[in-house]
Structures are given as C-alpha cells and as structure tokens.
C-alpha cells in the first residue's frame, strides 16, 4: 500500500497542471496529506518483525533485456525515511500557503521532489533508485532558480552541478555493480560476494557520489548556498529530505553492497564526518545570514549521520538513521521559522538587522517555535536530536573513542552558534549605550500575525521531534532489526 505514496504524489503533481490556480494549494495539501496518511497507516499496520527484511511490495519487469525491474520494497529504515518525507511534505505545504507567484508550477515542482524522494526510499532496483534520485535534481533547480531569493541563480546552479557531479560517480558505481554482480536487484546484489579488490575502489566511488548530496565535508559547499537561496519550502525539503537521499543511498547501496570496501574506508569516513561536524559548526559561528547559519548546522548534523555509519555497528547505524529522521524534522522547523516566519515579515535575514528588532516581543509564537527548534538542534534531551546523537555516540565509543570527544567539542560549538543565532534573531538588543533602540518602535501591528497554516505546520513538526525525543523506541524498534540484517556490520 505504501507504494501508493509515489503514485498519489505524482498524480497530484500532474493534476496541478490542469487545474486553475485557486485550487493549487489545496490540491497540494490534499496530496501530501494523502501521502502522510498512507505512511502512517503502513507504520501502524506493518508488524515489526516484517520490517527486518527488505520485503518486496511490487515487482514488475521493466526492461527485461537489461534486468531492470520496477521493484519497490520496504524495511524499517525505508519506512522511517518515508515517514519523515510525509511529515515534512505536509508541513512544507503549510509553510508555502502564501505563495502567490506561479502557484501551480511551484507546487508542481514541490510535489515532484516529494514523489522522487518517496521513490528513492522505496526502490529495490538499482536503476530505479538512480532514476528517482536524478529526478529530484531537476525540480530542485527550478524551485530555487524561479522562486528563490538571495543569489538564486548561483545557488541553484551550484547545487545542480554538485548533484550531477555526485550522480556521475554514482552512475559509474552502479554500472560496476551491475557488470560484476550481474543484476540490478538490490536484494540479490546484497547476497553477491564482490571481490575485495573491486570493493576497495568501487565503494569509495559509489559512496562519495552519494555523500555529495549528504553534504559530506569537504564537498558540502553547495548546501549552505543552496539552502540560503531556496524558497522556504525548498530549504525545508532540501535540508529535511533531499540531503537524506544521499545518506540513505550510501547506506542501502554503497555500504550494503560493498561491505569489505566499506570496512577498508570506514575510518576515513569517520575522519571526514568528525571534521565536518566541527568545521561546519565553527563556520556557522561566524555567519551573518540566518539561513547560512542553519545551512551550516545541517552540514554539521549530517556529519553525525556519517559518523554513525562509520561505526559499522548496529547501534551507531541505527542512531544515524534516527538522526536522519530527526534532522529532517528539525531542519524543516528551523528553516520554516527563519524563512517563512521571520523573513516574510521583516524582509531581512541579516542577524545584525534582526537583533535590533527584538522579535520575541513582536512574534511570541515564532519565538517559541524557534526556541524549541534551536533546543532540539542543540541536542537538548527530550527532543529527537538528543536521542539520535546519544545512540550514535555510544556506537562510536566502541570504534572511535577519540572521534567521540572531538564530536563532543562539535556539539558544544553547535550549541554556541545556535545560541548566538537565537539571541540575535529573537532576543536582540542594542549593543552600545546611546544607540537608538529600534526594537521599541516596532509593535505587533506592524507585522502580519502568524497565520493558522504556519501554526499548524510548526506544531506538527514540534510534536514530532518531541514525541520521538521522549519515546525514541517508536522508531528504534523498527530501525534496529533492519540494520541488524545488513551485512556490513562488524
């Protein structure tokens, strides 16, 4: 049934092209809610033992000559990712409620991204996965180039070029796997023993290709510019889900097909991951644009995902999957607050300018949202980020004790820059005596009040991060068995 998420989403996208613009956002909302309901029903109904294996949902021959199948499958990991896609998609539509400019087109591209993401997370055929993976790139480009803000052409181009650059490596890797393994079926390939020598070079090619999209240091630079340039909905989807495509595919394809190659390279992945965590956090500390701060924080958080992978044990990897979920929600929330709630009203994202407005008095709900979002992003216990990070760190203690302490330093840096962003954006005040305090001249009437769709979207995301933070068992129970059946574990 969950396969219908893909059809519903693409169906909605096509429907949008034919309907007048008055209906556009409603269609988009219904489509995404439909997808979310499908996810939730599957989440509740599928018995947990079934989620341990990558169970086939649909399998139809596609190009039999080349062994390509339209093959979808589901396990705990993909279910988790599909769920976060559904949640982010709905909240994204809520936060795009005010889009007036070329509405139909906007939601069309948006739904294409969402549908492509569903597709990647459910594909069990290498070629199908690659098709969906590339499919996401095009609408992303248009979303940013048409509807973006600051420096949008540059951001869109950079992001697309990086993605294609990564995609090129992925394509080579996939061909290698096909030629050597003689199949495109992920389940069959994950049984096949590739020669260690082949794995030693095929793994880094494939993994790096995927990792570009996951924002691995030092190939992360597309992320902050892309996030900053994208419209709110674009940033939410980009940081929330699209970056996860890279890490998910890295796990599902690269690591699971080439376990020995992975073990050869895992400590280098850890090095890159830890560097990324600390470096991105340090850079974020000096940013002036709020969206850049959040963009770098995404890179830092994705570093935890890669660190979790590199541990090569069930705990660390499960933590990484949980972190993918958690970051999807938290990044969406942060971008929603920064892009929609603040920027649409103040027309600036410069922290210095914002700091003179003391927005917490003007927009209490937005302030509350941002406090929750930053707390979750810092890894305060009780929110999903902590549950994920603690699991990753326990996993990493076994393999990379030193890396754990450096990553711990990274956590403190993350807290420092997040706190700085929070202070400057919502709780600013004049720094020098005698300077006129602009904040006092602002009042509530000057900005539109926070709208109902915004409130619904924000509450949805806050509840999700809180629920998973308080009761991570909900997801971990489904993720762990699926991870434990993978063959790269030591």
């Amino acid at each position: 049934m969950i396969a219908w998420t893909i059809y519903v989403t693409f169906g909605g996208a096509i429907l949008l092209l034919f309907l007048p613009r008055a209906y556009a956002r409603w269609i988009a909302l219904l489509t995404t809610i439909g997808g979310l309901i499908l996810c939730l029903v599957t989440f509740v109904q599928t018995p947990i033992p079934d989620l341990a294996h990558f169970t086939t949902l649909v399998r139809v021959p596609w190009v039999p000559a080349l062994g390509m199948n339209y093959h979808l499958a589901l396990d705990g990991i993909s279910l988790t990712m599909v769920l976060v896609t559904g949640i982010s998609a709905v909240s994204t539509v809520f936060f795009s409620w005010d889009v007036e400019h070329r509405q139909n087109e906007f939601f069309f591209w948006l739904l294409l991204v969402v549908g492509g993401c569903y597709g990647v997370f459910l594909s069990a055929d290498l070629f199908l996965l690659f098709v969906f993976y590339e499919l996401v790139i095009v609408p992303k480009y248009f979303l940013i180039a048409i509807f973006g803000s600051t420096n949008k052409e540059y951001g869109a181009m950079k992001l697309t070029l990086y993605s294609f650059f990564g995609g090129m490596f992925v394509f080579v890797g996939i061909l290698v796997a096909y030629v050597a393994g003689g199949s495109l079926d992920l389940n069959q390939l994950s049984q096949f023993e590739f020669s260690p020598q082949l794995q030693s070079w095929a793994f880094p090619v494939l993994f790096l290709g995927f990792a570009v999209l996951a924002g691995i240091w030092p190939l992360h630079t597309w992320a902050p510019t892309g996030h900053a340039a994208a419209p709110t909905a674009g940033s939410m989807l980009l940081a929330g889900i699209v970056m996860k495509l890279g890490s998910y595919a890295g796990l599902r394809v690269a690591m699971n097909l080439f376990p020995e190659g992975f073990q050869m390279w895992s400590k280098w992945i850890a090095v890159l991951a830890v560097t990324g965590i600390v470096y991105a956090a340090a850079v974020a500390l000096r940013q002036r644009d709020l969206k850049f701060v959040i963009g770098y924080s995404s890179v830092s958080h994705m570093g935890f995902v890669l660190l979790g992978f590199a541990t090569a044990n069930a705990l660390g990897t499960s933590g990484a999957v949980l972190q993918m979920f958690s970051h999807g929600v938290i990044a969406a929330l942060l971008f929603a607050a920064a892009g929609r709630m603040i920027y649409r009203r103040t027309h600036t994202r410069e922290l210095d300018a914002l700091s003179e407005m003391n927005l917490s008095h003007v927009m209490p709900f937005a302030a509350f949202t941002f406090v929750i979002a930053t707390a979750a992003s810092m890894g305060i216990p009780g929110f999903s980020g902590f549950a994920a990070e603690i699991t990753i760190l326990i996993g990493a203690w076994k393999t990379f004790p030193i890396g754990v302490w450096i990553a711990g330093g990274g956590i403190v840096l993350v807290a420092a820059f997040t706190l700085r962003a929070l202070k400057l954006s919502f709780f600013g005040e004049e720094r020098t005596e005698g300077k006129i305090k602009n904040g006092t001249t602002l009042n509530r009437e000057q900005f539109d009040p926070i709208t109902i769709p915004e409130k619904i979207g924000a509450c949805m995301l806050m509840l999700t991060t809180f629920a998973v933070g308080v009761y991570p068992k909900l997801l971990l129970d489904r993720i762990m068995p699926a991870v434990e059946t993978m063959r790269f574990l030591r």
Binding site: P381, G408, V412
Partner: protein, 494 residues
C-alpha cells in the same frame, strides 16, 4: 502511592500549559495554585516516606529506550526527598517575591518548566532520564536571565548556558564510556559496581575528569565559578533565588549521587588537590564578596563559599575514608545534606531582601543605603536574622549544617578544614560590613521615603524565618528525613 513522583514532575508542566492558555492575563495566581498542588504532593510524599527503610521508595520503572538501557526510573531516598521538599519551598517563595518584570505570563510558564526539570533531576535514578531533566533546566534558565534579566544579561546568560553546556557534554561523553564498560545507566547498580572503581587506567581518569568538570561547573567550584556572579547579579530577584536555592544543588546532588560512588579510587588519589580547590572556594569567594559594591553580586560570591562547605564535607569523606571513624563520616554527610537544605532557604531569603531594598531604592549598591534602622526597623531586623543564619549563628539553621561539616571533616582532613575556618571569619566580616553600612549611621537622604515591611512581604518573611529558627533549634525533623540514607551512603563510600 504509585505515580506520586511522576505526578510531582508533571504538575508544574501542566501548570506551565495552564498559564499559557488561561484567558486571564496575569499568570501568577495560576502558577501559585499549581505550586500549592505540587507542594501538597511533596508533603504527601514526606508523610508516606518510610524514614527507616534503606534504598529507594515510590519507585516507578518502565522500559523507555531499551537499545541503550535508558529506563524511566524514578524514586526517592532521603536525599531526593529533601531536595524535592526544598524545591517545593523555594519556587513558590520566588514566585511570591517576583512578579514577572514585564508582566508577561511566559515568565511564570518558564519558571514552572524549570521547576519540573528540578523535580525530575532530583528523583530520576537512571542516567539518561536524569540527564534529560538536568539539561531541561538549562533552556528555561537561559531564557529567564536573557529575557527578564537586568544590565549585562546578554553576556551573563550566554556564559551561564555555554559553561553549563560544555560541562554537560563532557559528563555525557564520560557516561557513555561508563555505559559501554558496564552496560547500565542505573544509579544504584553503578554505585554498587563502584566500590572498586567502575573503570581502570587512563580511561577512568578521562571519565572522572569529564564528570567532575560537568558537576563542578554547576555547583560551582573554584575555578569553574566565573559564570555565577554575572548570572546571579543580572537575573531578576526571583530567578536568582531559584538559581542559588535549588539549581546549584543539582551540582552537589550530582557529586553525591554520581561522582563519589563511581570513582572512589580516583578521588582518593587526588583528594588533597580537590580539597585544595574547595578551600580556595571557601576562602577566596568571601574575599571577593568583600570587594563587591553590588549587594546581589556579593551574595552570589557568598553562595560559592557556602556550597564550598558542602564540597568540603563530601571530599573530606571521600578522600580519606580509611581514617574516618563512622561517626565522623555520618556527621560530615549529615552536615552536607543539612547545609544543602539550609543554604537553599537562607540564600533565597537574602536575595529576597536585596530585592526588597532594590524595589524601594531602585539601586542595590552597598553605598546607596544608610541608616535604614531608623526608617525601617522591621526590614532590618528580619534581614539581620537571614544574615546571621547565613554566617552560621547557633540557634539558626545555618549553624547546624556547618557545625556538623566542620566536626566531621576536621577528623578526616584536619589541615584543610583548619584553613577553611578562615572562610567563616571572612563571611562574618562581610556581613558585618553590610549591616553597618546599610542599617546604621545617619539616615541617607535617598532612603527617607522607604516604607517598612508591607503586609504581603511579612507574609513571606515571617514563615520562612520561623522555619529557620525551627531548624536551628530542633533540627531533628529534618535529620529524620535522611538519617538512613546517610548511614547507607557512608557505608558505600568507605
């Protein structure tokens, strides 16, 4: 009585929700109602608490995050109960003392969230859960200082947050290491494993350092204290009362519950150095207080000194268990617990009085007042009682704890205790100086229009002061709470 502890943790959270959603603008009555309810629950806990039983009572245990052995495990022993009672006492006291500076109800909601975090910290018996509550107090603390603080609040709140956060992360990582070695986060299980040290070698030292720094920042212990004067000075009065009255006890509690049982060997090896740090806290902090002109900052420094006594008792006990006669160990530990409670009340009271003075004068420098005795005899009288209690005059609560700590520690670490006595002396000088310049001398012109204690202020001051006397004269009712726990812990540590 199952569920009582959970109820105590949840009631303030419900209160926060109620304050936010209630149509009435003023949140204070609602916040106070919820405080009364949670205080009632705490009293019920006390009533049903079996003071002679060893170990945890009112235990609730549920699976929570099985993959890392995180359990929802709450329960109370004597120490937890003591701190729950203290929280129930200080928070309403602070709310009575401090209406929201800008009249916003978010202030009360934030205070209530803080209260819930405090209850949680003092009752959680599994590290993951404990850490959740420990960190949960951080965001409200930051917001309370940042939004409603006075001058310099930006710097002070950031410093407060980052110092504590740094310490927390170090502690968290150390605990993850311990978990990997021992496979449990359960405090009681860890304490039992800890008799021979849970870890060995360099790694033990790393973990020890991480946890030590985390807790030392929170207490704070010299030289990790620099965030404290800024934070206490700039926070609004009510918040300062909570910070010093209860929040600082989280650190001491952590030392008793975590560090001492887990690392007996490490503490024994570097015991003298730790004691030296403590003595620095005890001696230098009042010296710094002596130099302050701002009354709030002065009391902030004195807080460091008073918590230093707690740490003196603890480290003296843990560093030299071999020479400790059982009676000295009991005395020191009882003294520490007593001091935890007493300092909570007394320091909160002192901040309250400074708040009253500040309300009347608009300033709180020591030079801004003079000759108050002529104008406001009642205020001066009651304030003197609080000061005498703080410097440890017999008959008042402060004396009992300090006397026991000194009695116990002297037998175990004579030299350090002897130096620490200097701290008592300097504290006395500081208070005498305050009394002299505030109360006596010619009436300062700016103070002529001062009203004396108002009725609503008396309603706060009198009961708390009576409690101080009660503890000073018949302290047994407090000792009864934690006697068994003290005996049990002393056995664990030696």
């Amino acid at each position: 009585m199952v569920g009582l502890v959970t109820a105590i943790i949840l009631i303030p959270l419900l209160g926060a929700l109620a304050v936010c959603t209630w149509p009435q603008k003023n949140g204070r009555p609602i916040a106070l109602v919820f405080n009364v309810i949670s205080a009632g629950c705490a009293l019920m806990l006390w009533r049903n608490f079996d003071a002679t039983a060893i170990g945890l009572q009112f235990v609730e245990r549920h699976a929570w995050i099985p993959s890392i052995n995180g359990e929802y495990l709450v329960g109370v022993d004597g120490l937890s109960l003591l701190l729950v009672l203290l929280t129930s006492l200080v928070i309403p006291f602070a709310l009575l003392a401090q209406p929201a500076p800008d009249g916003s109800r978010a202030f009360y909601a934030t205070m209530l969230v803080m209260q819930s975090a405090l209850y949680g910290t003092f009752t959680a018996q599994n590290f993951v859960l404990w850490f959740l509550f420990y960190e949960m107090s951080l965001i409200p603390g930051f917001l309370l200082i940042k939004i409603w603080g006075g001058e310099n609040r930006d710097r002070a709140s950031t410093k407060f947050f980052l110092y504590t956060f740094l310490g927390s992360v170090a502690m968290l990582l150390s605990f993850l290491g311990i978990y990997l070695a021992k496979g449990t986060f359960d405090f009681a299980a860890l304490a039992n494993l800890g008799k021979n040290g849970v870890l060995t070698g360099n790694f033990a030292w790393l973990a020890f350092a991480g946890i030590f720094v985390g807790l030392a920042v929170k207490v704070p212990l010299f030289p990790f204290h620099t965030w404290l004067p800024d934070a206490y000075q700039t926070a609004p009065t009510g918040v300062s009362m909570v910070l010093t009255g209860v929040l600082s006890k989280m650190g001491v509690y952590g030392f008793v519950r975590l560090l001492l049982p887990l690392f007996p060997n490490e503490i024994r090896v570097i015991g003298p150095w730790l004691l030296a740090l403590v003595v620095c806290s005890i001696v230098f902090a009042p010296l710094a207080a002596w130099a302050q002109r701002d009354l709030k900052r002065m009391i902030a420094y004195l807080s460091i000194n008073h918590l230093g006594y707690c740490m003196l008792g603890l480290f003296a006990l843990a560093a030299s268990p071999a020479v400790a006669a059982r009676i000295d160990a009991h005395a020191a530990l009882s003294g520490v617990f007593m001091q935890i409670f007493n300092h909570g009340i007394t320091a909160a009271m002192l901040f309250y009085f400074v708040g009253l003075l500040e309300q009347r004068r608009g300033l709180r420098g020591i030079d801004n007042f003079g000759g108050l005795m002529q104008r406001t005899p009642l205020l001066c009288g009651w304030m003197s009682v609080a000061m005498f209690s703080s410097l440890g005059l017999p008959g008042l609560n402060g004396f009992v704890g300090e006397f026991l700590i000194f009695k116990g520690s002297f037998a175990m670490a004579a030299a350090f205790t002897a130096i620490a006595v200097i701290g008592l002396l300097i504290t006395a000088i500081v208070f005498m100086r305050v009394m002299q310049s505030l109360f006596s001398g010619p009436l300062a012109e700016s103070c002529i229009a001062f009203p004396d204690l108002l009725r609503k202020e008396k309603l706060v001051v009198v009961p708390v002061t009576l409690l101080m006397f009660a503890i000073g004269i018949v302290p047994q009712f407090i000792f009864n709470i934690f006697n068994t726990t003290v005996v049990h812990m002393a056995r664990l540590l030696s």
